[in-house]
Symmetry: C2
Subunit: 760 residues, 2 copies
């Protein structure tokens, strides 16, 4: 209370530390953020702006702009992500066709665009459009025949290899983070982890370009996962324009959650499904305000994409289907069978893919990523070309499999034997016996199924952008279509069986094989990703009717149950574990009976906890402690005897503050005493200047008692997004639990290797 002039003077001298110290409040790469602190910083910021905005009109306008910046960012993300998705679609179309031939009118036209403008486009003549020339027609003037076939085959492989080589080289040289689907990393980032550059401009550019290349190269991968990554890069880009988002890691994650929704929205044209996907699968902290904004961004993106109109049908959705027949209760049985298949496929894929990725990581295989990509591309191209169902792009294949056979359908899959005196309307074609085309198609599809299953396991995880949705959907759609045609023919040829008698009389249109394909797709996608509600909603948006929600749900539920029986982890969680990221899954339930005291450090027998005392450590003591340990922070106590906790200081901020003080103020020397108290005591005149560091002290560190059950601790870490938590017993500091400790303990309890958690 008694302030002498000298103390006043010295406290003035220390006041420069009350200016913001640069870099305090930022995080190191590969570290976890402190959600509570970020949110409280944002509130401070908001408070300042609100109070300022009453001062002048200019400040008021600035306040308004600030309040609207969230919507502006969403608008911009929607526009850019929608545009990029459109561009990617157009480029993929063109380059996929480039593998087969070229448009004489202009090389930049895809097959479809080339023949749009030609006059001969009645439906049947579409394939005979003269402006589109296969390579063999152009080079050796032969459209058919063995030599033309071999030439086309050869060029197909060559183009594929060229695209794949370009892609993997670009990724390696310019943006190593552009590989993979990106969803595991985005989940981790959204849960509060820092990976610098993962959502950077280079990643955005390279991922967009290489995504086009790899999809066009015909590899068994999709653009859906990467398009989430691309959208998140857009989100990061635009959030750096507004200090509200760029300077606050928690707020930035709100934008990124919305961007993830945008990614799915443009990939499938399903804005509601996208928002739910972000909510269910990707996001960690998702306030309701963000839900609304995500929805807005997803809609903007979907409409931007539609105005670019890459699918040429002015539909919003990727696979638009319309069925004309209801489904019957008896069909639930094959639907559930498809669900079982989806669950088994999901388990098989996750196990094999993780085993292969682990092998890639641990053996010398990982040293030759370019070679690996080239080899897999070559194998894919060589096997894919002879089979018409694997030669074309996977989206086209899925589209055909989903479609019901109308009267005008010319595809092999619709080669049914027609009743000649059929006078029914176009929409309502009765079940018919399969013609030879259908049987051929079945064999080819079965081969395609086996090929897709095997090659996808080796493709996902290579050093190129690769999504999983499309291959999974393709596997499911093929299996579903085969089952669907099987049931259809069974019902046609045995319509007097009891199960068919009620709903499948001759002349009735009772089985829709396309619906089976869609159900199979949902089952397989569900088995791999373990999505539930969002999966059904995406499928619901694709079909646009509540009518088929029960079959879809039956398959999705079955698939999830079957897959969960073999292991709870979806593919994304499995990859997160493989990479050792500190991801605390909201869905994991922790049910073991351990207490905080079992998890905290120091453990029994270990040296005591490194703590700082509030008023008797010198700068040198602290620097030594920092040098000798690698902890991310130190609890500050009243004294080593009483061990009464007063706060927590972050390592990074201690270092920065001490460095800053030493540089900017000569009085601070090695034996200056560091004070974390409010009012440093009066010092003898000849003692070195004290250093007051209360400013960087977190005065409200989170504490739990040693008797707290670990499930509560896990809950607290999850819900409040803590980095660490201190453990006390009757007011005495006992130890510390970090997020890494929690994750390692959880891994141990689940009989996994705790050392697999690598980051803080």
């Amino acid at each position: 209370m008694v302030n002498t002039g000298e103390i006043n003077g010295s406290s003035n001298l220390m006041d420069f530390l009350d200016e913001p110290i640069p870099d305090v409040g930022t995080y190191e790469d590969f570290h976890t953020i402190d959600w509570l602190r970020e949110k409280s910083r944002d509130t401070d910021r908001h408070r300042k702006i609100t109070s300022k905005s009453k001062e002048s009109i200019w400040e008021f306008i600035k306040g308004l702009l600030e309040a609207w910046s969230g919507w502006v960012v969403m608008l911009l993300i929607g526009l850019l992500a929608g545009t990029l998705a459109g561009v990617i679609d157009l480029a993929v179309d063109w380059m996929t066709d480039l593998k087969e031939g070229i448009c004489l009118e202009g090389f930049w036209y895809s097959h479809e665009q080339c023949c749009w403008t030609s006059n001969e486009t009645t439906f049947d003549d579409r394939d005979k459009c003269p402006k589109w020339q296969k390579w063999s027609e152009l080079m050796i003037n032969q459209g058919e025949g063995p030599s033309a076939y071999i030439l086309n085959y050869f060029l197909y492989i060559l183009w594929a290899l060229l695209f794949a080589f370009l892609a993997v080289s670009l990724v390696r040289v310019f943006a190593p983070y552009a590989c993979g689907s990106g969803i595991p990393e985005i989940k981790t980032i959204l849960s509060g982890f820092i990976i610098r550059g993962y959502l950077g401009k280079w990643t955005l550019l390279i991922k967009t370009v290489t995504l086009v290349l790899v999809v066009s190269s015909g590899l068994s991968l999709g653009k859906e996962g990467p398009s989430v990554h691309v959208a998140c890069c857009c989100g990061n880009l635009f959030s750096s324009l507004f200090s509200k988002y760029s300077k606050n890691e928690a707020k930035r994650r709100e934008v990124l959650s919305a961007a993830a929704a945008v990614g799915v929205s443009v990939a499938f044209g399903a804005p509601i499904g996208g928002v739910l996907f972000s909510l269910e699968e990707v996001s960690y902290y998702f306030p309701l305000k963000t839900l609304w904004r995500s929805f807005f961004a997803a809609l903007v993106a979907a409409f931007t994409l539609r105005s670019i109109n890459p699918f040429g049908n002015s539909r919003l959705v990727l696979f638009y289907v319309e069925y004309h027949t209801p489904w019957y209760m008896a069909e639930l049985f094959p639907f559930i069978l498809l669900g079982v298949f989806g669950g088994l496929w999901g388990t098989l894929f996750i196990r094999c893919n993780i085993a292969w990725c682990r092998r890639r990581k641990t053996t010398s295989l990982g040293k030759y990523p370019v070679l690996e990509v080239i080899a897999v591309t070559a194998i894919t191209a060589i096997i894919a070309y002879p089979n018409p169902y694997t030669r074309r792009s996977t989206s086209e294949l899925i589209s055909e499999l989903f479609n019901d056979c109308g009267a005008l359908e010319s595809s092999q899959l619709c080669d049914y034997i027609n009743d000649l005196n059929m006078t029914r309307p176009v929409d309502d074609i009765p079940d018919r016996p399969a013609g030879p085309g259908v049987y051929t198609a079945m064999w080819q599809l079965a081969l395609a199924l086996i090929f897709k299953i095997i090659i996808t396991i080796f493709t996902f995880g290579m050093k190129i952008p690769s999504g999983l949705f499309i291959p999974s959907i393709a596997v499911g759609a093929i299996a579903g279509r085969i089952v669907g045609v099987g049931v259809e023919q069974l019902a046609y040829h045995n319509h007097d069986w009891i199960i068919f008698r009620n709903w499948c009389r001759p002349g009735a249109d009772c089985v829709t094989p396309g619906l089976y394909a869609m159900v199979g797709a949902a089952a397989c996608l569900g088995g791999v990703t373990r999505m539930t509600v969002s999966l059904v909603v995406i499928m619901f948006e694709l079909t646009g009717g509540l009518e088929y929600i029960v079959p879809l749900m039956a398959a999705a539920v079955t698939s999830k149950w079957v897959a969960d029986a073999f292991g709870k982890e979806g593919i994304y969680e499995a990859h997160i574990h493989l990479k050792g990221y500190p991801f605390l899954d909201v869905k994991d339930e922790f049910t073991h009976r351990t207490l905080a005291t079992d998890v905290m450090r120091p453990r029994r027998g270990e040296p005591p906890l490194s703590v700082l005392t509030q008023d008797n450590m010198t700068v040198e003591d602290v620097e030594t402690l920092i040098k000798d340990t690698d902890y991310n922070g130190f609890p500050v106590v009243v004294s080593r005897d009483s061990e009464r906790l007063i706060g927590f200081a972050q390592r990074r901020e201690l270092i920065i503050a001490i460095k800053n003080a030493r540089q900017r103020h000569d009085g601070v020397v090695s034996n200056s005493i560091i004070y974390f108290t409010e009012d440093p005591p009066e010092l003898p005149a000849n003692s070195p200047h004290p250093l007051k560091l209360r400013r960087i002290l977190n005065l409200s560190p989170f504490t739990v008692t040693d008797h707290t059950p670990m499930e509560t601790v896990v809950d607290i870490f999850r819900k409040l997004g803590l980095r660490q938590c201190l453990v006390t017993r009757s007011g005495r500091l006992l130890g510390i639990i970090t997020k890494k400790d929690v994750l390692r303990h959880m891994a141990q309890m689940a009989n996994q290797d705790p050392e697999s958690i690598m980051f803080n």
Copy 2:
């Protein structure tokens, strides 16, 4: 460490307290639950069952049943709620028609059912079905004419009064909790509050019956809110069948969240919208597992309802519409205007309704609920009958307003002047000039609008079940249709204006007044409830197309912005505040700069905190403390000097444990010492038996430091669902913050009366 025989003996004597004490772990009425404790109890339970299930096959099967019970409960809720909704719809149909006439073939047929069976049902003859007799036809053999009109008018009022009187009497006598919409209370219950009987069997029965009565009586109210309450009662009913849910308040709330989704799902036939409504508007704690189950329950309910088929069109949704025309950018202007109208209506409604409800509460008006209901019903019936748009049931009105005028439409609203040589297909009718019928309809609709706006304010909150969705939608739909017809006629008569020239040439079908009605409905519903995503999704499910999502969203966003500018509270939050429930809204942002120390009790100048010490208080001391204070719990400290916290004991459990010990064990007398320590010390032989109460002690009470910002404290209370939190400074106990303290502080900071928060 040294155990003498005597201590062993005495500790054996104390062991009976280690048996579960009955009622420990339950809560008192009108109190808040402790989420963390409930969840940890559930984990314990789960752990026990899992470990037991390895013992025998029987236990394994029990474990499986346990695991499946969640799905079984959902199935049962879906079935019962769907059935009830179907029954309610059928009964309402019949009783609404009963006000106008009766079916000669059987009095239990509604007008529509009566005429279904008749042979003359071509469309135009539907109104002339001879089996359906108006009351005047039956009683004085006159269908038309002034005396018939007066008789019908009189009987209409009489029936309405009878229904309303029956309803209000039933509610008053049997189930006072059955009144109102129920959503405010359900929100509060889901946030962790106990209101015994609110979801009981009597409430379920009486609410179902009275809901039918009040809706049939023609009052301006809907069945959507109450149907959420009814579904939650079903949820409560079925959750009491399984000890997993009945004995754990947190698990029970998971079921109730799903039941809320079911309620909306059956009310609108919108399962996805229902789940999102529950997520966005009603629920508090909504784990993803529940999301999936809610979706399942909502689907089961929707399909149960569809198989009952109360709307007679085998459609799932309440108002099925299909438009054939796209919307144009220029139309966004009237859509946004409708949004503004919706926001203003929302604000007006909330303000007036709350003012009126407050007046009812504080003046003698509240003493005559029956009279009030009778008076409002009489006024409603007298004014409603002469206007054809208010006479019919509100759902029918909305349905007609939403519909586009097809070629076959015979309603007055579709009385356009036809071009005689029209050869266009049925679906594509160009804009036409309005006929006299449309102009009459406009006047009548304008009057209906004013009437609905005023009467709804006085209706909502009376002592009868009353929902808000349908009246809000009706207000919006009327306003929207009027605007729609206005725009249509403007465009028709001025198609050379610049804004119309591009999209509204003569002969084009450019304006769909039904779409305007739907947009207006979304705006008004949004203004009153402040729903966002779920609102748009419900509307999207009703229309079944993404096409109109932009108009709907534009209106919903505008309406929310306009309404939020006048006050952030939706109608449900306003009613929660009015009733003083302790509801900590997840959406409210707390941005003030207060600290835990400003909120905790004891405040400066107040007597110190009532604490228990761990080993030197007698039974009598504790009993005195319990008698003298009304706190819900007491912190337990090492000693009054050190104030080191060791745990927290609930008042209720202290009382039960002491009572139990006194009854069951003679050794425990008034001067027995209560020990909260692990090992009570050795006592002299003649001292009274000690009472060991460590069992009821919560050893992991939640603590924060006095420097913790209140926004963090609010966040912790919200996310972890705490009842109270202790405040410490460097390990010393300083005070306590309860949920009520937090809510009162928030009210104070928002310049509201803190005394309005009435419960703990």
